[in-house]
Symmetry: C2
Subunit: 795 residues, 2 copies
């Protein structure tokens, strides 16, 4: 035991209780080792032979005994205290441990009846692990009780907080590995306690597991003085309880005492807040568990120390099939758990092993919180007509689309005031992104200090603002995975901060969708605003439309991208996203005043189609094919396209122009590649097979080629978009720098439609002159040309 602050010991386990906990721990250790190594002979009913061993040894032993220990002791307190609990296993590579515990408690067999809680089932559990056609080596969607894969480290604690928000009766334990603790997202997550409301939210119990090593190195937190670590954790606002040791019985006693102390303190803090109205942020307890990496595994292999070193990280004995000494060591290791005491003749765990295991949905592998779809209710969404903007004529009035969306979100927030199953997260940008109507319905979650000048801060707020996209993403993922709804609003460029996190969430959803027992959860909805074209003021570093490209590389079953061109289409897209399940929806929409193009009914119809002709914007008369198609996706490109169409109509009235707007960008893909893709016939009808298409796109132009390259008309497709030209400048200069401006689009049309004659030549020169005029004007005035600033459709 450590000589630094230690749990006072309200728990005095009897020797029998210790023995029972130890039996459960030994059983789970045995099962973890068995999964890594054994193809056959699961109960060691005969001496091991090479044929019992898997041909490829895959898996992570090092973290497993620690996870098994925590699971064992969580079982105890869950059962004893009738606590509703969920555990997030940060070191998710310790899949063998979590699977072992699920099998022991029976949740595994409940979920997968072909893997029974008997010798045959144990054999199957072992054989399937990390085996082709079997189960992944990590905690995964396939693992009962899991909401967190843990393959990419850093997000466990954020997920745990997300799960705890608005689940007042839930205890979310979270094992944080000391490797993971070095990551940025995890380091930031400790401060999440400033956002957890003791009244409306559940409790998070972080268990920092210092086993001392990563893959090949010691860890920082295990190698700083314990006094320094204690200060750090108290500085994070926690009340740490240290449990240190390598003697199992002593550690069982100390960990049981620490868990009881921690949960007593949690209960006290919750009672104080809920019953006594205490509003000070409590020092939430946490546990620091310092036990050896690879504990109970081989001490030495081939003359090198293994237990309690980084060498135990994966498979401590790697040559078991060919090396008789390794095989002998493995057998001794397995037998050291005394399996004959743990499992009966039929391979069933003994009553002593199961003494600590809770029942039914109290089991960590059976909790409905870890299968959030079971808890999910449809959102009470308002009638969009209450929030839509009136549109008498397209392109004459302006609205801020995200502000209009703010009204819808306010309504959802108000309607969920009692249910508390909707949150909006964002990195300090909710107001900047014009969603501040939300504050009429709720506040911003905040448990740190306040001052009289503060606005909208509230202990029970359901808008979450912290300057960390990682926390926003992690919280929202945890919230959704446990059965609730939400939206993440972000500056478009900085969504890349969570590229790798959303990767993992998409992979989770893609796999979950293929598991019948996983119920659909609410989609993860992004609103990307303050986008590339309107970061003229912040400059180049804030200009990046590539999150869409990143998303569209991922599983088409899961990803959806919408680029609504105005306020009403944004409302319709958001409504659709908030109703959807198991998707990642990305909506890109501006916050600056934008022309209204479509009435609500038109917007709904347009969003339902995802892409369509705007007949009023072109020269459609139903009789002739267009000479050119002007396509557009995104609010600013739509405006420039319409302005170009306007110029063409005025100056080249004989030119047949079609305007096509795309909201749902995946429509451009073949229907064989994406569920929203359109068949060739539909694509050809919209874009023609042979006419030039001048496409103004919100992001990187080559994305459109990547989506449409199979189409018959692809050779005639010319795309303009963002090509990494930017600085601090004006909005119109941004489009000019990237050749997306109305003048350039008209020039593109003239360059591509043959036989337009002298009027077109003159118009082309006029357009080039307008661009020159623009350059001179902004350098003198710092503003956009009056003719650009004042333009309206048909005005």
């Amino acid at each position: 035991m450590s000589d630094t602050p230690t749990a006072s010991a309200p728990t005095s386990l009897t020797d029998d209780e210790v023995a029972a906990l130890d039996a459960h721990w030994r059983a789970s250790n045995y099962l973890a080792v068995g999964q890594i190594y054994l193809m056959d002979n699961p109960l060691l009913t005969r001496p091991l032979v090479p044929e019992d061993i898997k041909p490829r040894l895959l898996g992570h032993w090092g973290t497993s005994p620690g996870l098994n220990l925590v699971h064992t002791h969580l079982n105890r307190v869950i059962k004893r205290r009738s606590r509703s609990a969920l555990c997030v296993w940060g070191p998710g590579h310790g899949g063998p441990a979590v699977l072992a515990n699920s099998w022991l408690e029976g949740s595994y067999s409940d979920t997968y009846p072909d893997v029974g809680r008997d010798a045959a089932g144990m054999g199957r559990l072992f054989q399937q692990f990390s085996f082709p056609g079997g189960v992944p080596s990590h905690v995964a969607p396939e693992t009962p009780g899991s909401i967190h894969e843990g393959g990419e480290l850093g997000y466990s604690l954020a997920h745990a907080y997300g799960a705890a928000f608005d689940h007042p009766d839930l205890l979310v334990a979270c094992v944080v590995g000391d490797g993971e603790a070095e990551t940025g997202p995890l380091a930031a997550s400790w401060h999440a306690n400033k956002f957890l409301d003791p009244v409306h939210d559940g409790a998070v119990l972080p268990i920092l597991h210092l086993n001392g090593y990563k893959i090949a190195n010691p860890t920082v937190l295990a190698r700083i003085p314990e006094e320094e670590l204690d200060r750090l954790l108290r500085g994070y606002g926690h009340d740490p309880l240290f449990v240190t040791g390598d003697d199992p019985a002593a550690v069982h006693r100390a960990l049981a005492a620490a868990m009881d102390t921690a949960l007593d303190r949690v209960d006290a803090h919750q009672r104080a807040a809920r019953e006594d109205g205490v509003t000070e942020r409590p020092p939430w307890p946490m546990i620091v568990l310092r036990t050896p990496k690879g504990w109970t595994g081989p001490e030495e292999v081939d003359g090198l120390p293994v237990e309690n070193t980084w060498r135990s990280h994966q498979v401590p004995l790697s040559g078991v099939r060919d090396n008789p000494e390794h095989l002998r060591q493995l057998e001794a290791w397995l037998r050291s758990y005394r399996p004959e005491e743990l499992f009966d003749g039929e391979g069933r765990p003994t009553p002593q092993v199961l003494a600590c295991v809770p029942e039914g949905e109290a089991r960590l592998g059976s909790t409905p919180y870890a299968n959030g779809g079971r808890l999910l209710r449809d959102l009470p969404l308002p009638d969009l007509a209450n929030h839509a903007v009136p549109v008498d004529r397209p392109g004459t009035a302006l609205h801020e689309p995200t502000k209009v969306l703010g009204g819808l979100l306010e309504s959802v927030m108000a309607a969920t005031a009692g249910r508390r199953d909707f949150r909006v997260v964002g990195p300090d940008e909710t107001a900047s992104n014009r969603l501040d109507a939300l504050y009429h319905a709720t506040g911003k979650a905040w448990q740190a200090g306040t001052l009289p000048t503060d606005e909208h801060l509230a202990h029970d707020g359901r808008v979450m603002e912290v300057l960390s996209e990682h926390l926003c993403q992690g919280w929202l993922e945890g919230y959704l995975l446990t059965g609730r709804h939400g939206l993440f609003s972000s500056y478009e460029a900085f969504a890349h901060i969570v590229d790798s996190m959303v990767n993992q969430h998409i992979k989770w959803l893609r796999t979950s969708r293929r598991l019948p027992w996983r119920r659909p959860i609410a989609s993860l909805n992004y609103l990307l605003t303050s986008h590339v074209w309107r970061q003229d003021h912040n400059g180049f570093s804030h200009q990046d439309p590539g999150f869409v490209d990143h998303i569209l590389n991922k599983s088409p079953e899961v990803v959806r991208v919408y680029l609504p061109p105005d306020a009403n289409t944004l409302l319709s897209a958001a409504d659709h996203a908030l109703r959807s399940r198991d998707y990642v929806n990305v909506i890109v929409a501006g916050k600056q005043p934008t022309f209204d193009w479509l009435t609500l009914d038109e917007a709904r119809a347009h969003c339902a189609r995802g892409a369509g002709v705007w007949p009023w914007a072109g020269t459609e008369d139903g009789t002739r094919e267009p000479d050119v198609v002007l396509a557009c996706a995104g609010d600013v490109p739509t405006q420039e396209t319409l302005a170009a169409a306007d110029l063409l109509r005025r100056h080249l009235p004989e030119l047949a122009v079609r305007v096509v707007n795309i909201v749902d960008i995946a429509r451009l893909m073949p229907d064989t590649e994406h569920p929203h893709g359109m068949p060739d016939s539909e694509y050809d009808a919209l874009f023609t097979r042979e006419r030039p298409v001048v496409f103004a796109y919100h992001g990187y132009p080559w994305l459109i080629h990547r989506l449409a390259y199979r189409r018959a008309g692809h050779a005639h497709l010319h795309v303009r978009g963002y090509k990494e030209e930017g600085t601090t400048t004006t909005p119109f200069d941004m489009v000019v720098r990237n050749d997306l401006d109305r003048y350039r689009l008209v020039m593109d049309v003239i360059d591509r439609v043959p036989g337009l004659g002298v009027r077109a030549v003159a118009l082309r020169q006029e357009m080039a002159d307008a661009r020159t005029r623009h350059h001179a004007w902004i350098r003198e005035h710092g503003t956009d040309l009056p003719e650009v600033a004042e333009w309206t459709w048909g005005g």
Copy 2:
């Protein structure tokens, strides 16, 4: 002043010294406000009129007075102590402050002679700020003395450490905003002191600036009790000195005292380590500066408090041109700095203002450390022949490519032992990625505790391992930007963790390249290994080849991507990358045993071309056009392609097959789009214009279409690659699941070449049968088909 630990005060400023510091601070504040607002009348020689005001008001005032204060006081200590210093300005949106100081000290006029240190120059300084054709609103490459843009928050402290490594005489001050401090990367960066060697590295002086607010919210660190903050910072291993106040004279005295105390302690720690051989990690000093946001700005605007609230974040008075009261307030604000005392009649700063300013390269805006190319020396690269593997016949022997590269890196590391200008960073994966030969030449940097079982840890190690891709990236960026060399090795999938960081670095390089005074720096080199095809053991979460897609969206002047297919091509690509300047080079290469295809000479020639026919692999006889082209990029796709070519040669000898391998993926682009792109004539000669091309690509297949869509032969291009199908399985199953396997490639050829006859039909069936056989085999044995495992080229 705070009642918590405060700097002991070795410095007693005279009143004159305080007055002089205050004059410098007021001058910089005046210049910051002027930049945000004024088009004309810079010295207020007449009352302000609306025409003096910029038409668009852009910029960030809130952080500026704090940055000005820090700059003023850094000037003082730099001058007084003759210290070589660099400052990283975390709140980079405070561009007006850093520009103001550069102008005051003269480094601005040295860099941009058209902006003189006089009234005309001041007018130009004001007018150009955030103005089209002028300078960005953030600290940017254009800003003298900067290595950090600060637009995307989170990386300041990692950059500061990177700059300090191996610069023993350098002091790197780093202002950390309390907004930025909420981000994950910044939270992790505090622990970088466990990696800083007091002997060989310089010092980092973090200055945590608590001005209390972000865009619209209070900050976490400003709203926790100071005692808790003190614990947190001590827990991070720092020795914090608190300076709090809103009375300028008192704050000047306290900050001067804190800076002197901090630097005295830095000197003492360095002396102890360097002269007395002390090896304990010292508690490095840092400063916590708590001053009001928008300090000295308008207290109230339109009846709402502004100074010391979030409302001062950007432009406190927003209606100055149209609102006479705002105009009046602005004039009063500007005059409150008493410009007539600060600037003489010609607009030159007075001697009092300049009293604290150091001279020459000691000025923060002139330090060569911030223009790293000035310090850069070519790396001593070895003769590749010393490291190459012998290749008698292609495709028969196997090597681990990254292990071979490890030899080259070891050689570079050894050759730089004295110069110390090369580091290798990686998240705990250097050995896992088979680069462990490096440890023959250096250790792993480590200043935390050690145990007897530890290996390769060293105070002065130049391999950096921490489980944070953010820290690895930030350190390396800081190291390169200050004139050194390095390599980042990462698991391929988790490179996405730094997507947004590399965005910012690429933007920095793209802009720097256009500034003649910025000297080229060493490229940022990535080795992406443990790649998608060999994450069969870790499973789906570790499988993502999309970093290449992300990189290729960015400025073509900067980005380069290489996919060497074997050990010798990897050596050649790495050699090229380590010699290059101002690029981001991404090299994707496996660590598992891979066939050697090319001798070193062949590898060099192939890498120089970037793409070429492998005549020995096809049926080339110089007389006939190929019936089909098999193209490949990446090590695993190359192996599958060669195996497919082998099958075709044996079973359909009459088929004319060409094999093309691509190392430099940008070669596929037109030469108009990327400097490495090839002209159509060359592309057509390689791939033909009309023959089917079956392309096996390492990553997402549509990337190849996006690169090649303009080519004549594009309609005949069929690409196989990763399509998000994966789990824990075998290596060959990974390629089968994604239809990239040899059998599928042969089927693709047969499906695309017309008129092949009955033998082809039979072969196609044989291939389909082989895939079926594979599925059955792995489910039974858990390994790959013997015929696959044992295949060699021509064997």
